[in-house]
């Protein structure tokens, strides 16, 4: 019997491929931005806001500091990278799965399983 949807194995490959593509694309963009930012010595907007506060109100004392901060610039970049990777992985997976489910129309996957 003909099925309009693609075979499960092919679909799984395409989920993995789409996820991977999004991750690779993000990794490239991220590395590019990080390299460019480092090379040109960009400071953060947030830091500039902090110094603007102290300029306008020199008496202000920061009353609490972060409980924990990345120990080095490298660790910070890696953690931001980790955040980007998690986001890219989940996003790629969701896009790929949503693509897959479009082939099955709007039916509940359990209906499809029951028919197999």
């Amino acid at each position: 019997m003909d099925r309009p949807s693609s075979p499960p194995r092919r679909k799984r490959t395409s989920v993995a491929r789409t996820t991977l593509l999004v991750i690779v694309g993000v990794a490239l963009a991220y590395a590019g931005a990080a390299l460019l930012g480092d090379r040109l010595r960009f400071g953060g907007t947030d830091d500039r806001a902090s110094s603007a506060i102290l300029e306008g109100d020199p008496g202000y004392r920061r009353w609490i500091s972060p409980l924990w901060a990345p120990s080095s610039k490298t660790a910070e970049v890696l953690l931001f990278g980790l955040q980007a990777m998690i986001g890219a992985g989940v996003l790629g997976f969701a896009i790929a799965r949503l693509r897959g489910s479009s082939a099955r129309d709007a039916r509940d996957p359990r209906d499809v399983d029951a028919g197999e």
């Binding site: 603007a52 901060a69 955040q83 489910s101």
Partner: protein, 221 residues
């Protein structure tokens, strides 16, 4: 855009935290409801959360010699609705506050209000208004995500201005000062965010035009 730990006076930090609680609780319920509404619900929530997780990790260089990052909250606001964003944004902000010392726990409430409440609702409003005015969908999405991003930074500026009014010109003067720091550096990033949102939303909607277009267009009814 995050206000750093300790850079809001305690009274302000507390007030913004209280303001942030109802939207976060409400959105947690909206998330559960949407996740259960259809087989794709969970994936859409995942996409919305992942997009803001991803974009807020991007520290892109910006033209004025300062670097900053996007918010990514427009996608979920347009794909599902602004009501699901506060809790998703809170997760992202909590991650950054705890692991990156970026933002902070005492300023979490203020940052949730600017990034996960004001931004998404402005994006939603701009999209609905744009479509009502006959602006093509793609352009409306671009404007919605870009202006939502800028609205977040404007809100941050206002929060800082309220906490640190200029000695001579008061809150409006301080708003101008913080606004200049944030908004100008943020314009190029807002444009990038707008473009990324258009591309991502298109990849999500085009593959599922029948149902997901309905979600995007639901804001118009």
């Amino acid at each position: 855009m995050h206000i750093m730990e300790g850079y809001l006076p305690a009274s302000h930090a507390l007030a913004w935290s209280l303001v942030a609680i109802p939207p976060v609780v409400w959105s947690a319920r909206a998330i559960v409801k949407h996740a259960r509404s259809s087989p794709r619900g969970k994936l859409e929530i995942a996409a919305a959360g992942a997009f803001t997780f991803l974009l807020s990790s991007f520290k892109l260089p910006s033209v004025t010699g300062s670097s900053s990052h996007a918010t990514g909250t427009g996608l979920g606001a347009l794909l599902i609705g602004p009501s699901v964003m506060p809790a998703l944004g809170a997760i992202v902000l909590l991650f950054q506050a705890l692991l990156l010392a970026h933002g902070g726990l005492t300023t979490l409430g203020a940052n949730i209000v600017s990034m996960a409440v004001v931004g998404p609702w402005v994006a939603h409003g701009v999209f609905v208004g744009g479509r009502a005015a006959g602006i093509p969908r793609g352009v409306s999405v671009f404007l919605a995500a870009s202006l939502g991003d800028l609205a977040t930074y404007l809100t941050t500026s206002l929060q800082l201005a309220l906490a640190f009014p200029d000695p001579s010109t008061g809150v409006p003067g301080a708003l101008g000062k913080f606004g200049a720091i944030f908004a100008l550096t943020q314009v190029p990033l807002a444009l990038v965010e707008g473009a990324l949102t258009v591309v991502t939303l298109r990849s999500l909607v085009a593959v599922h035009r029948k149902t997901m277009t309905g979600i995007v267009e639901r804001g118009e009814s």
